[in-house]
Structures are given as C-alpha cells and as structure tokens.
Symmetry: C2
Subunit: 387 residues, 2 copies
Amino acid sequence: MNNFEFFNPVRILFGNDKIEKIGMQLNPTDRILMTYGGGSIKKNGTYERIKAALSNFSVFEFGGIEANPKYETLMKAVEVVKKNNVDFILAIGGGSVIDGTKFIAAASLYEGSDPWDLLIKNIVVTKAIPFGVVLTLPATGSEMNSGAVISRLETREKYSFGSPVLFPKFSVLDPTLTFSLPPHQVANGIADAFIHVMEQYMTFPSDSPIQDRFSESILQTLIEVGPQTLKNPSDYSLRANFMWSCTMALNGLLSTGVTTDWATHMIGHELTAFFGIDHGATLAAVYPALLTELQEPKHEKIIQYGSRVWGLSGADLTARNVINKTEDFFRSLGIKTRLCEYGLKQEDVAPIVERFRTRGWKLGERKNINHEVVEAILKRALEPYRS
Amino acid sequence: MNNFEFFNPVRILFGNDKIEKIGMQLNPTDRILMTYGGGSIKKNGTYERIKAALSNFSVFEFGGIEANPKYETLMKAVEVVKKNNVDFILAIGGGSVIDGTKFIAAASLYEGSDPWDLLIKNIVVTKAIPFGVVLTLPATGSEMNSGAVISRLETREKYSFGSPVLFPKFSVLDPTLTFSLPPHQVANGIADAFIHVMEQYMTFPSDSPIQDRFSESILQTLIEVGPQTLKNPSDYSLRANFMWSCTMALNGLLSTGVTTDWATHMIGHELTAFFGIDHGATLAAVYPALLTELQEPKHEKIIQYGSRVWGLSGADLTARNVINKTEDFFRSLGIKTRLCEYGLKQEDVAPIVERFRTRGWKLGERKNINHEVVEAILKRALEPYRS
C-alpha cells in the first residue's frame, strides 16, 4: 500500500426526508444562491420542495448551467454572487451544476485579475464561498469530492481543478429526485460511476485488498442494480443503491494507497470537447478499446476483475471475455460503445491525437500512454462492434 | 436502505513517513499534551520520533492511561490540561488511550459540576479540546470515529459516550509502529475489528448491497491477513492492511442505511468490567454463542456471510458450519472462545444477567435480546469448545 492522506468532510444527508432539513445546515442570516441547470427541477417538484425548505432565507437564483459547464456561463453567476452578497450557494443538479458551482464558489472570491487562471495556471484555491448540494443525477461523484471539470466554448477545451476548500458542506442524496430522469442520463451515470471505479482499480496489483474489494463491491452493485433501475425508474431501493454507488465511486476512498489511471477520462474529455458526446458515453466507448490495447500490462487485474466481479473461471476467464463482458454491460444499458456508431471516422479523431502529441502527456498508471497509444486506442474504438 | 446521515471529517495520514509531518497539522503556538499508556512507546522509538516532530512546540505529557481507561485516571489528566492551558492533545496509543483522550478533551471544557455526568446523563458534548492521534494498536477504530468507552473502577461499569466534536482532527496510521506489539494484542485487535463489522452487518437483509459488500470486504481481508500478520509481525504490507481494516471497520461507513446490532459489545463490556478479560477476547467468546442462539432471526445473513466470506456452498453451507468457521478463526489467532477457558462458571456470570435484568435493556437489531436471552448466550459461551 502506498502512503496516502485521506480527508473528506462532506456531510451526506441520504433519504427521502432530507430536503426539508436543509435549513438546519445553514446560518439563519445566509443569503443563498440556488444554482441549477435547464429547469427540469421545476417540472418534477424538486424546485418547489427546495424553495419551501428555504422559505426563511434570502434566496437568489441562477439557472441555465449547461452540461459540461462553460466558463462563459459561470462567470455570469459570479456576477450574481457579487452583486447580491451571496454567503452560500446551493447547487441543485448533477455533476455539471455541482462542478460549475465549485468554479463559481472559487471564482467569486478569487483576487487575481482573471478567474480563468484558476483552471490553466495551477493556482491553489484557498478561498471559496461555502456551498451545499442537492443531487438530482447520480454519476460524477462531485457531490462528495472537491474536484470539478470546466469547459471553455471558444477553445473546445475541458479543464480539471480542485481544492480542499471545494468540498460541499453537505450533500442531499434523495433517491426520489431521480425518478423522472431520462433513461439515457441514468445509463450514462451508471457508466460514469463504473469507469470511476475502474480508473482507480484496474491498474496493477498493489497489495491493497480492502481498496480492491471496495472497488469490486461497487462494480458488482452497479452491474446488479444498473439494468434494473433503468427498467424500474420509480423503485426507491434500486435508485438508492445506484445513487450511493455513484457517490462512493469517487469520494477518495477507493484511491487511498493505490496508483490510479484516469487515461479513459482524459481521452473521453476530448471526445466531449470536440464532438459533444455525453461524458458517460465517451467513457463507454474508450474503455473497452483501452483495456484491449493495454491488456498485457493490466493482465493480472483484468483476471482478478473477471473472476471476482463477473464470476468467470476456468477456460472462460480470458482477458478477451472479461473485456467483452464489460463492453456488453454498457450496451445492455443502451449506450453505444463504438465511435463509428456516432458517425466518427479516423480523420475526425486526428485532432485529438494531435492535441495529446503537442501536450506531450503520458497517461495511465504507468505513465506509458502517449499520443501514439491514444491513437491506437481510438482506432480500436472506431472499429465496428463485434458481430 | 434506511435514511441516514454520514459525516466523518478525520484526516487520515497513512504511512511510515507521517509522524514527521504532524507539526504541519498544528498551530505554531499550540501547547500540546501528549497522552499515552504504559510506556511501550518509550521502548520502541515511537516516543522519540514524536518528540522530535514536536520539537518546536510546548509539550506536556500524561502517561499511564490504562486498558479500559478509568475515569479516576483521566480526571488527573484533566488537571494537567487546565493547569498548563493545553490547546491540543495528541493521543499516542490504541483504543484505550484514544477513548481516554476523548473524555479528557470533553471533560476539560465541561462547565457542569461533575464530568462523570457526561457519561451517565446523556449530556450533549458541544465543546472539546481539539486532539489528534498516533495509532499504535489497530483494533477499536476510535482513531476515525467520535465515540469512546470509559470505565469506573469503583462501580465496575463501562459507559459509552460520543459527540461530533470528538472526531480526531487527524490520525497518523503508521504500520511500522505496530511491529513490536505483543501477539495477543494483535490477535485481540483482529477479533475486535472483525466483530465491529459483524455488529453492523450480521442483522437482516435490508437491500443495502454496497454496505454488505464493504463489510464482507473487511471480513475477508481480516481472515486473509490476520493469521499472516501474527506470524510475520514486521511485514509492512500485512500490518498496513490489518491497520486499514480496523480503521474502516468502525468509521460510520458500514452502518450507513442499515440497522445495527451491538449486543455482543454490550455483553462483552460486562465481562471486561467484572472479570478484566481483554475486550477483543470477550467478543470472541460471546459472538459464536450469540450467533448460535440467534441463528434463526439472523439466518439469511448467516448464509450470505458463509457463502461470500467463507466460500461455503451446497451441503456445507449450514449455519452451524458458518458459526464454527467464525469461532475457529478466532481460535486460529490464539484467542479463547469459551468462558470456561477463563475458569468462569454459571454462577460467576449471574451478576451480569442481573445487571441486564435491572436495566431492562433489549439489545440487538430486533431489540429482542433481553436478560433471559443474555443468560442463554452466556450459558452457551460457558460450554466447552466442541471436541
């Protein structure tokens, strides 16, 4: 086990009675900005429940945070924060709204000239407006971590940033809020959480049995409840287990003491930036190709995963079968797993390879995924699904 | 899944390089009280390493906190805190020192007339001197939770208390500090952590697959590394996995959304209070008896546990076999699992049953363990080990 530090002070309020208790987490004099996305919360009653819970507070609103939240949009929210002396932000949504809120929280107190520097100059964020979360779309785990991914329209780039001051003060996880989600968003959420686990687990053996088994626990649970919750969107228990899986998949626990990968995310981010493919769907397309390309260095963990998570044994326990099981799981959720299914061709992804080449990045747990390996992975991802 | 709240702000510093970084967790002006036990830290070098790490601070000391820390002892430490205006306490030891330190931290700022009231009057602790931990004996999980158990000599009673202000600010988990532990302490630690998991897991199915699998992850790991780490006390990796298992076993994560048991601990505490049997050893003696007595209401989970943790199947997968496997695991660690092996007889435990009768407690996840069931459990625990 590698040496590590672990710290996660997010208060989780889990259950169908928790929205009504948000007020207890706030100071009576707080001036609160509600941030949200396209307005689905106004259709399914979530907005009204939250407004009622905040009836004793001064509340402002900023809606319209889009998927893959844009710097340009978020800076408008920063103006609302400053103009109204907001003390606390309440993010209501999925990863995009929460990530966007983390940026708003940091940028509002940033004393430099241009908050964009927070994303590109590795500036340590030391101050942020405190914020809480009401999660409506389980997927990214942002509700229980201190990181965020922000996009910039003009350059088609996605940037990650984070800071210990960007943990939510609390996150409400109410499974009933997810009943009305469109199926493809649930499917993408399942894929996102699944790959979050894999990025921390599918590397090389490091004598960390607790971390391995916790990862396998989440994978098994996602395989178990994922397809079921798609078929039964109002089954509370299934949604609860899906929700808790997503949160546990990326709160820092699985990565304690182990070396992590994250190459699939880095490649997937570019597919979103260039072609607008949903984040979860990009991961489902890249991952089977990446595992195939890197099946030798990852062989031991692929076999462990195939045995423990998929129950394969004997002659069935081959890397090929394990990878096929994984890809077919994504397809069983209705997610495309080949870039050609999005109409993409080799020449379309060339700019992505070029971007990795110019950056000179070496990705993965062994830092051996350079632009040539990225090209090979994308080539595999472009091939048609096996007949 | 039941509705729940989860909050755990303890910063974990894990690894063999972390003692030297303690100073970074403290304020430069902190006046620090080091609390510890019988002085083993002075023999194995731990004391010197910590003193060196604190060389820039004003440091006071309070040694001699005994196993099952006594109110009478701890009140002497409270005097040291008050006399020296201590700002921060650093607990160096296992569960007894940490639990004792939690009481010292709370009692030092208690404004009532008698700090004993903190234990017997359900007083909400709202203030405590901040404290950190250097863990030397993995077992109780106290390094990552906010609870404590304190004993009183004169009445032979053990009391639990806790408060959100009693989370350690940080806990250093350095596996090398455990290399010199006496084997029986390591064995008891393994049993303690194992039962901590069982108290949260071995109840009834509640559709909480993540929590179940996380519990099974820790049980499997303890079974795997427990006997090995006893044989190879200086194997870093084994000690690291043992240590992390103990911490994860009781930090609030496993009990999210599920109904818990804790009857074995309640009965075990009395065996310690009356007969001075080590805490972990009391659990190993009570648990097989409790599982046998309650095998009907716990049947479904016993079978799940036998299948997933012990790999039993077919005709071998019976409650009896599962319970025997569990008892034999404790015996493989060198722990006695029958009270007769401590020379106890039926009449010796009668005062314990009487104590449960007068308290009128109903224990367990179904609140159906009254003093009569306690008597039946103790009777089974008194029987000789099967030949």
